[in-house]
Symmetry: D2
């Protein structure tokens, strides 16, 4: 599948579970498809806490890291009252990009509900220009990780 | 009703209609209650266009106008596929506040779906302190309106 | 204050903390005012887990419990990266209504960020008619609580 | 680009413009990336009105048409106060799928802000099983269109 093919060799991963908000459902009785991008954001947040690389660390070092690409493939629905489990993987790559993939499970039924991928770039906070080289604070962080293959 | 009692003598008004977004519905098949605050925001936006007093006018004059109070009373549901009509009223008052009330109709059934009220204050953009006196650009705008009673 | 005046003598309470989602902020750099209604929903959800009275319990007993009134008073902003603490109180009352009040704290600064109130009614799931008498499963639940005054 | 490569020969198209909601911005001062999926939904809605193929037509014929795949590529930001122009294309294909692509322009700056693609399937409303053959009402609609190449 395209999402899997585009991933990279080394990665680190985290797993979180959470509840569905009623406001996230739609008139089909399931989580509205666009809300999976909120789930991905929650998963990145959680990943950042686990691996000590939070949004505000980027910010304090002078960078925004906006999303430049998102993909979601939906496999099964999630209903209100069901739990969500997300496995998030950060994939090492040589460019100044943050590449995450996501597996979202309906933890109540055990089904894979969706797979996804996001790509972020480094934007200098002040003038909002694209940073093409990985910032040093980020490379130091990468060097400290125990990558899996 | 409390929303009506708290309104003021002079007002100006505008009326808009719009469609419900599918993403705004919930698993009960109706517009999720919190989304009425988005409808109110749409109505203020529309009002600002009609009466030449837009958010960015406040901003350029050095102010944010954050909401400090919101109220919604729900009377009837709105379903996906139904149209929404909003009557928004701006109520004159002596304090440095923006007071709007809203009547949200299910334009498909003709029913009053909700009534609401919001109060905004003037916050100086730079240091985010509360402005207690109406800014002059705003008083000039008030003086130009044809108020109804 | 109106929110406090409208509360009732006996209550039970719960307290939760959570993070702000980036998607919940707005261009003023703070949590968008309407998202407090999502926080209130999260708090009710949490309350339901603590006190064994979840949305799906109402549903299984044949009821929806839609919001018919919401109020929010904003006191201080919450920024991305700051934590939120919510104290939710369920107030006993004689009518077939669910009355909750909320205190939302910016847990990072310690400031009271907002106060709020919601009122829910019992709606029969099938024909969506208003239930004027408290359902027996709900009265049994009320009788089991240790109310505070 | 992948979004373009995956499109198909025959298409019909529509163009809409709209304003950005303040609630759709984030703390970077731009439209939050996930809200582009709401823009896509708005564009499908608009397309449906123009081409007489609305969500409720599917519904009345016994189908939901959930999104099974979404992609967004972000090129430039959109700020509050700027206008959005969306060019939506419906791409003919042989499978029982609805394939749309989107070009979202910052109509104020003229810049291409994002490109996107969504894929929807036909789900039987009652038992929520996948329909593998195009429903006849839908084929009749396809036959009436003036396709472009």
């Amino acid at each position: 599948m395209s999402i899997e093919n585009s991933t990279h060799i080394k990665y680190i991963t985290a797993e979180m579970t959470m509840a569905v908000r009623f406001s996230e459902t739609d008139a089909m009785g399931v989580v509205w498809h666009g809300n999976y991008l909120k789930f991905f954001e929650d998963a990145r947040e959680f990943f950042g806490t686990v691996y000590q690389l939070e949004y505000l660390d980027f910010y304090r070092n002078g960078y925004f890291t906006p999303i430049v690409r998102s993909e979601i493939e939906h496999k099964a629905p999630i209903h209100y009252g069901e739990k969500v489990k997300i496995i998030i993987k950060f994939h090492f790559n040589n460019a100044a990009k943050l590449i995450f993939t996501y597996e979202v499970f309906n933890a109540t039924t055990g089904q894979l509900a969706a797979e996804g991928k996001t790509v972020q770039v480094f934007l200098e906070k002040e003038n909002r220009t694209l940073e093409l080289i990985k910032p040093s604070f980020f490379m130091e962080w990468e060097n400290k990780q125990s990558w899996r293959v």
